[in-house]
């Protein structure tokens, strides 16, 4: 399994749902009114990073 490179900062997320609506893998959901990523479904396409209006989703550089 590829190590997921995408990380959601739930301290920034304002729950607009945009990332969930465009994820081609259906890897994102709204859990407790924050975006939540299921790592095993994610293919690291990065569409959600570009879509977040306030920069709550970033590439995990660790």
């Amino acid at each position: 399994m590829v190590k997921p490179k995408i990380k959601i900062n739930i301290k920034i997320c304002l729950a607009c749902g945009g990332c969930i609506s465009i994820c081609p893998q259906d890897a994102l959901s709204m859990i407790s009114s924050k975006a939540y990523l299921e790592d095993e479904k994610c293919i690291n396409c990065g569409i959600c990073i570009k879509t977040c209006p306030i920069g709550a989703i970033k590439e995990d550089k660790k």
């Binding site: 709204m30 977040c52 920069g55």
Partner: protein, 401 residues
């Protein structure tokens, strides 16, 4: 628990669906993931004054201010003004969406609908391939509700359609990613909504200034996701405000992020299942507005559910009355505005400036394709080529009307 219908989502589309279902004698419950209906607000808060005719909202507490028209600014600052006399009943209200949503939920409750807050729907229950209910989580409790009809009113991030096998994934080309401040302490008042367009200002979208009265304004931006980048909407909005004399000294009392589908509507009916509102992609592709279609679609959905429960038939064919009716009421406009969106996205700033310059003195009350063409030809003949696809569309819709 047993219900005739479960409505997932307590926004406008969900509440109106539940209300009209309940009024037809349906045992219905609204499940809302948030802990307060309408909060946080996820919207620019504009709605057409056509809503007055629909008897959906009582009183005036939900109205922040009444608009007299709209002003559209092209990239070079040329203003096209649409006054009330010109735009007719298409002028709008700026609303308090929290009160607006709660008012619709209150009407649903008064008609007999149940409401459960803080409830996340985690999946559909299928028995022999047939949808027979939903699984949900509330506080630390997991439970199931059996129902003959499930309504996906779960907004832009909708899962209900996906779980039922409807492809609701949006292309970045079909999503506006948004940010909005509510700014107060602004030494200026207005009864006009303002819209600012331009590739640099808001790629594939626009910036709006909606007056809420009392020196308070919603100032927001939508950027097409395919042209956006991480946090770009917020950065562009901050830049616009700091460059705008009337706004730059305002104090922010609210920040919100939003996402608006600007897509073609999806398939909205399956056996035992309906999609309404943003979940059905029922927002307008030019303006991003989705309140009027949510109210109209919700009413049709609620009445359709009433008939389905009465006849005890929950198959796709029976529920398709909903799809046939919403297509008749606003389906053509949604498709037409999607095509206009695609054409407008090809316009560069120079074209938008020429267009605004041609239209700034145009009398919209005398609107006809011919007079529009005259206005364009007189000032900027080269525009005609660029606008050909738009004019074709106008001709078609005029012939239809």
């Amino acid at each position: 628990m047993e219900y005739d219908a479960v409505v997932v989502g307590g926004g406008p589309a969900g509440s109106v669906t539940a209300r009209f279902a309940a009024e037809s004698g349906v045992k219905v419950i609204i499940l809302e993931r948030r802990t307060e209906i309408g909060v946080p607000v996820l919207c620019g808060e504009g709605i057409s004054q056509r809503v007055d005719k629909w008897n959906m909202l009582e009183g005036t507490r939900w109205i922040a201010s009444k608009m007299d028209g709209a002003k559209i600014f092209s990239p070079d600052g040329t203003m096209v003004s649409l006054s009330k006399e010109m735009a007719g009943n298409e002028t709008g209200y700026v609303v308090y969406r929290d009160i607006f949503d709660q008012e619709l939920a209150r009407r649903a409750a008064r008609s007999g609908a149940d409401i459960m807050l803080n409830t996340e729907v985690t999946g559909l229950i299928k028995t022999n391939g047939k949808i027979t209910g939903i699984k949900a989580r509330r506080f630390d409790e997991q439970f199931e509700i059996n129902a003959n009809i499930i309504v996906g009113a779960d907004g832009v991030e909708s899962k209900i359609g996906k779980w039922a096998g409807i492809n609701t994934v949006l292309k970045p080309y079909d999503l506006e990613t948004c940010a909005q401040y509510t700014l107060t302490n602004i030494d200026y008042n207005s009864n006009y909504c303002e819209f600012y367009i331009g590739k640099k200002l808001a790629p594939g979208g626009y910036i709006w200034i909606f007056p809420k009265g009392e020196n308070t304004f919603n100032v927001g931006i939508g950027v097409l996701a395919s042209l956006s980048d991480s946090s770009l909407p917020l950065k562009l909005l901050n830049k616009f405000i700091s460059n705008h004399n009337e706004l730059k000294n305002g104090k922010s009392i609210r920040l919100l992020a939003g996402a608006v589908p600007v897509a073609k509507p999806v398939e909205t009916v399956r056996d035992n299942l309906l999609l309404v509102g943003d979940a059905a992609r029922h927002a307008d592709s030019i303006t991003g507005g989705g309140l009027t279609t949510s109210l109209q679609g919700g009413k049709i959905a609620g009445e359709t559910i009433g008939k389905a429960v009465e006849s005890h038939r929950f198959d796709k064919e029976t529920l398709s009355i909903y799809e046939t009716k919403w297509k008749a009421v606003f389906g053509t406009k949604l498709i037409r505005d999607y095509i206009v969106k695609e054409i407008m996205l090809d316009f560069d700033d120079k074209t938008l400036n020429m267009l605004a310059d041609s239209l700034k003195d145009y009398k919209f009350e005398e609107f006809s394709t011919l007079s529009l063409v005259k206005a364009l030809v007189l000032k900027h003949p080269t525009l005609l080529m660029r606008l050909k696809p738009l004019l074709k569309l106008t001709d078609k819709s005029l012939k239809k009307a």
